[in-house]
Structures are given as C-alpha cells and as structure tokens.
Symmetry: C2
Subunit: 198 residues, 2 copies
C-alpha cells in the first residue's frame, strides 16, 4: 500500500521533527508503542517524557522500554497530560521537538477510562506553547466510543482556530471507513508570519 495507516502517518510526521538527541513527550503512553518509538528516535542523547493516568499503562510501557534497554532516556509520570506544564522541567518550555497523543481508551484496557475534552485541550494548550519552532504535535482522534465524537470535535475546533501564521495544521481522514481514527498534525512555524495571505 502507498497510503499509510493513521498511526504510521503520525510517526512519519513526528520522525521529521525529532532527531537523535531531541526531546519528545508522549501525552498518552497507553501500551507504550509510541513511547518506545520516540525513545528509539531520540536516541541515547535524547529524552522522552511520558504521561498516563493508568498504572497498568505505565507498567506495560516500562516493561516495553526495559525489553529494549531504553529506560534511561525516558521519564514516566503517573499523571494526566493536563499536568504537563507543572511536571515537565521548566527549562524545556519552547524546546520540545515532538508531542504525540493517542486519544480514547487504553487498547485491551478498561474502555470506560477515556481521555476527556477538557483535559485533552489543556494538554494541547501546553503542547503548542512548549513546542519548539519547527516542531510537530500529532493527535490520533477516535470517534467510535461514547464521547469520542465530542472530544474529536473539540480538538478540531481548537486546531482550526490556531493562527495560520504561527501553525500549519493538517487533518487526515479515511472517509470510506466507518469510525476509523483520524490524524491531526500541528507544526509550529519556524518564523511566525503575517496571516494576511492565508
């Protein structure tokens, strides 16, 4: 296949913003697949911070990182991503290369524990502020679970109001698949520009 899946696509864009030695945040560790991806990409000189409200998710993530010998370059927080701004080292403000969010519930976990619009939006506010110029934020949106559509709408509303002179925003959807996830990608411009031409 030429066209990538939504999850492959998220990694494709993040890979281009995150070089070895870079700094990344996984806003939703889940089973740790993206945390591991970020840790591999950031390399031994980079640093990754991961957040999850479920102990089960952090255990799986830690296990996965351990199996790949990558625990040292990752710091995990048992906290919701809305607390990023108080838990991340303050000297990283404006210096983070990539943020990844995979919304909804923990795959194979308790489907009643889901991300919520208010906390997701708070985390995205922090992410847009703490992102380095040229950095990327990826957000996988799911609409198949109760509250998913409302959360996706809230996130898209937020993204569609980011000033075009400061952020390039792209939304990728798979319109012939029911309840397929979609991908939102935010890129902070290197040089903010007047939005008059947008």
């Amino acid at each position: 296949m030429i066209l990538p899946s939504i999850l492959e696509s998220a990694r494709h864009w993040v890979r281009q913003a995150l070089s070895p030695g870079g700094i990344a945040v996984d806003g939703t560790c889940g089973n740790g697949h993206d945390t591991l991806f970020l840790a591999e990409r950031a390399g031994p000189d980079g640093m990754v911070y991961g957040f999850d409200i479920q102990q089960e998710a952090l255990s799986k993530t830690r296990e996965r990182l351990h199996a790949h010998g990558m625990t040292e370059r990752v710091q995990l927080f048992h906290a919701g991503h809305e607390r990023m701004h108080e838990l991340l080292p303050s000297e990283l403000r404006g210096r983070i290369d990539a943020f990844m969010f995979n919304l909804g519930y923990l795959p194979k976990g308790d489907t009643r524990v889901v991300t919520r619009p208010e906390t997701t939006l708070a985390a995205l506010e922090t992410a847009t502020e703490w992102l380095t110029p040229g950095g990327i934020i990826s957000v996988c949106l799911y609409t198949g679970h109760p509250g998913g559509r409302e959360e996706a709408d809230a996130v898209l509303h937020f993204a569609s109001h980011l000033p075009p002179g400061a952020f390039q925003v792209m939304h990728q959807q798979l319109p012939n698949r029911r309840e397929a996830p979609s991908l939102l990608v935010l890129e902070k411009r290197n040089r903010p520009r007047s939005s008059s031409r947008d």
Copy 2:
C-alpha cells in the same frame, strides 16, 4: 516546513504510483504544471494523456511541454474529462498508474468556467475503473468559488462510498485556513479484500 502544501502532497502520492515507463492521465490540464510533472515522471518510455475543455489551457500546456522537450510522450485532448472512457485507448483500461485532477477554474483564466459535479463524477467513475491495482488518483478540491462547495461535497460523497476492501481513501484538509483547497487521494488495492474488518 515539514507539512507539505496540498499540491505538493498530491505529487508526493502520485510519484509513488507512477514509475518511469508508466501511464498517467491529467484530467484537468489547466496551465500544464501537473501534465509536465506527470510527463517528467513517466519518462521517455511512458505516456501521459491530458484533458481540458479550454483551448487556452491546452495552448499553455503544449507550450510548457515543448519548452521541456516533452511533447512526444503526451497526448492532449480538447475535451472534458467526462469523455475519457471514449477517448483513451481502450487497451489501457485497468492499466493506468495515476490520474490527477485539479478542480475549480483555470488559474489566471476565466473564473466562470469551472468543473461541475456531474462531469467530475463521471470522470472519477472512469478513473476508478481504468486505474491499475496499486494505482493512485489525486483530486484537489476547492471551495472558494461559486459551486465549489457543492462539487467538493459530491466528490467526497462518491469517495466515502467506495468499498474499503477495494480502495483506500484519504482526505487531507488544512482546517485553520479559510477556503484552503483540500486533497483527496484514492488508492486501488492490489488485492481486493473482504471489507469485514473495515
């Protein structure tokens, strides 16, 4: 910038389906930029067919191809793309690697002459049928001109009803830019599969 423009993105996907020696169709020659791109990519052993209802567009396209020494590998038709199925060599049915459509009006031309939902849908029907397995159709959609929104909706309705076992469909939008074009990409699967998992 990491995120591409809609036009760059269309070429990115088409490039992966069209190799030297391949066959492509430009459904809307316009000023000939995409026709030239397809001719360069198809190479001296490939073949490109171009359609436009405006003589002005074909003249500009011919001029552009001539300036790059690529007239021999391109055949232009002064006809609407809805007539593809009667004008393309019938032995190419199911063997075309890529189709490109750039809807709306001719840039710098008469803005009252625009593509229309009925003829665009007829062309897309042919394109999905004549495309080779693994091939790509790109469609740039514009909503800023009268009738643009209706045409975009009709095309998206068509694409969202393609069977997911036969076509992978992706829609890329720029949600924080008013009246920005969007990109629809259709990929024909190499092996049709049951759609039960989609």
